[in-house]
Amino acid sequence: MLKIENLHARIAGKEILKGIDLTVNAGEVHAIMGPNGAGKSTLGNVLAGRDGYEVTAGTVTFQGEDLLGMSPEARAAAGVFLAFQYPVEIPGVNNTYFLRTALNAQRKQRGEKDLDSMQFLKLVREKLKVMKLPDDLLHRAVNEGFSGGEKKRNEIFQMALLEPQLAILDETDSGLDIDALKQVAAGVNLLRAPTRGFLMITHYQRLLDYVVPDFVHVLAGGRIVESGDKSLALRLEEHGYGGLAERQPAGAGA
């Protein structure tokens, strides 16, 4: 589904990603862990197409297409979703209206018919119920005045509604108390499907107790220095990222 090869990227002239290789297949959940400044969020942003990042080498293909050549909105329509680390407030724009605009914009790009208000409302209610989210989420402006937890839940709700092929979760667990974390994790688990891939960027192993990944990768210094299964995350939890520097040369050639 997603194939990243030798990806190099920089921001404001500073090289952040120094050769990433990663393949995500449909149905797989990959966790990306690593210390601050390792390039985790940069990876998410480059995949979603944020301005200001310059790809200097490497390729990314998504469903066989060149992802890097697509605009952010085209990537969304193709099925890439980024759950933001810091969801953005859009004052005065109703959440329901925003979601409907987004969904119909994607459908239009895919050559599908618009959902009318009734169809959309039905879908929204269904998803709210499944995700166990309160109704008032629909009547508020996009993220305006939301608490940290509400913002993150809103991201998961958007994901549920847009039904992407590849979901990138950028530190969706950060700033959440344990109840909110469980709720977000439950939402993600509900969306796990044989046709859907996940890339979960996180600092902590905590989230992985609730969303059990198929693969864990350690990103440090702009490279993936180690890959493994769930047990890798537990080992990191125990020993910290401190020992990574020595291991880096081994991963450099990967």
Partner: protein
């Protein structure tokens, strides 16, 4: 007198490529010219021209005399230069002060089909049966009113809704009593000019206790070249009456600047309520700042009676230059003045707009909500005066003006003036300036929404509090207008 035939500015004939034509049309869809035989006065202004104008309109002597007095006063005045506007000097001798379609209709059925078509194209149907349900329309074409719909229904309710010219002929007592009573002849340079040469506009009189049965609406259209439009509107709401009025404006695309200097006066007697909404879409000039309408307007309402209320709502997207401060004089005790404004400027447009709230009576209240949006290389200023006079015990004002910038080359400015002469008065002012952030843009795009649609959506959210005050149909209209006006604002 001369006859003009013209089809310049008609974009479709110039463009072979249908798609390009469509895109151009979208940027200013009202920019076409109607081919029509017109009767015009030659350019130039002196006492003779004013007498001639007054004679064409078959006005009584007192009206001619008023015009001449205003003209003499105007000659002693200079154009104001305090606004934050770059305004080329206007050559008042190069303007024609009267232009009208040659055929003068007696009723709507006799209106020239080309004219009716013009209004159809603009989305303002004048056929009564086709007209928007519940909205009476007066259409002003260049200098004259070409037709008013729903006269009979309004007359049954006792409401007078006609052109100003007719009012001067048919209701001279009312006109004499109220015209100039809110905006005196010598109020300012443009008001004086208007008082001397005003051509037409709407007249509304709602008698005591009557709730006007429908929305009233005037549609202003400048068509002829080198013609100024000097509209004059007067609305009188007697004790306990209610009226809601809406005006819309467009003009063809022309390379020269056109002048529009209007005066609008509102009078609300005890317990009366007037709601006046404007959707202003005069031709804004092209993307290089060439052409466009100079919109220099004096609008003022007076809450003359206790417990009266006047509410101004405006959506300003057109004009090369806008100089306009719809104001309320709160004379009656417990009277209320409100001002809701969305002003959008793009390319080289300049807007200096806001309001004046003058509190004279006790317990008077005013509210000002202004939203300015600047794109391209435009400049958008809010200028507002809140004045609490000595007798304004416990008067209150709340002002909130927010500006939104799109791009790096535009400007937003806020000039609030506050004068308080009564210690019990409370004045609150809040102002913010923000940009559509890259973050917001990327957030929308990463959800699949195109950059241009994202911009409209964000702007729309920003304007929401004002749109809420517009009559329903026009809120939709205003939203669409903003979208079109923002074409090409991103990227």
């Amino acid at each position: 007198m001369d006859t003009k035939m013209s089809n310049e500015g008609n974009v479709t004939t110039l463009q072979q490529n249908a798609e390009v034509a469509e895109a151009l049309e979208r940027t200013y869809s009202a920019g076409f010219v109607t081919k029509l035989e017109t009767v015009s006065l030659p350019p130039g202004l002196d006492e003779g021209v004013i007498r001639q104008l007054s004679a064409i309109k078959e006005e009584p002597e007192w009206m001619t005399e008023r015009r001449l007095q205003a003209y003499r006063h105007w000659l002693t005045m200079a154009a104001p230069n305090w606004a934050k506007l770059r305004l080329d000097p206007v050559d008042y001798q190069a303007i024609s002060y009267y232009s009208a379609p040659k055929a003068r209709p007696k009723s709507l059925a006799e209106v020239d089909p080309a004219l009716l078509e013009t209004y159809e194209k603009l989305g303002v149907p004048l056929h009564e049966r086709a007209a928007l349900a519940g909205v009476a329309v007066d259409a002003v074409f260049d200098s004259v009113s070409v037709g008013t719909t729903f006269r009979k229904q309004l007359a049954d309710a006792g409401v007078i809704f006609c052109s100003m010219s007719e009012a001067i002929r048919n209701h001279p007592d009312l006109v004499r009593k109220y015209l100039g009573s809110v905006v005196p002849t010598g109020d300012n340079f443009f008001a004086a000019l208007n008082s001397a040469v005003f051509s037409d506009g709407s007249f509304v009189f709602v008698p005591k206790g009557v709730r006007c049965p429908m929305e009233l609406s005037t549609y202003f259209r400048i068509n002829a070249q080198n013609t100024g439009q000097f509209e004059r509107t007067l609305i009188i709401a007697e004790e306990g009456s209610h009226v809601s009025y809406l005006e819309g404006c467009t003009a063809p695309k022309r390379d020269e600047n056109q002048l529009h200097a209007a005066v609008v006066e509102l009078v609300a007697l005890e317990g009366a309520q007037i709601k006046y909404s404007t959707v202003q879409n005069w031709y804004p000039g092209d993307e290089n700042g060439k052409g466009g309408v100079y919109n220099l307007v004096t609008k003022r309402g007076e809450c003359r009676g206790d417990d009266s209320k006047i509410c101004w709502t405006q959506v300003e997207t057109g004009s090369a230059i806008t100089w306009k401060y719809p104001s309320v004089v709160l004379r009656g005790d417990r009277s209320v003045g409100e001002f809701y404004s969305v002003a959008l400027t793009h390319h080289f447009q300049q807007a200096d707009t806001g309001t004046k709230m003058t509190h004279i009576g006790k317990d008077t209240k005013s509210k000002i909500i202004s939203r300015g949006i600047s794109a391209g290389r435009s400049n958008n200023s809010y200028r507002g005066l809140v004045k609490m006079e000595k007798g304004a015990e416990n008067a209150r004002n709340y002002t909130q003006c927010d500006s939104l910038l799109i791009g790096k080359k535009c400007g937003a400015h806020t000039f609030p003036y506050i004068e308080v002469k009564n210690p019990t008065a409370i004045v609150e002012h809040e102002a913010t300036t923000s940009k559509i952030s890259d973050e917001q843009m990327f957030y929308c795009r990463s959800r699949g929404i195109r950059a241009e649609d994202a911009t409209s959506m964000i702007v729309d959210g920003f304007c929401k509090t004002v749109f809420r005050e517009l009559p329903m149909e026009f809120a939709v209209e205003a939203k669409k207008l903003l979208e079109v006006s923002l074409e090409g604002a991103v990227g």
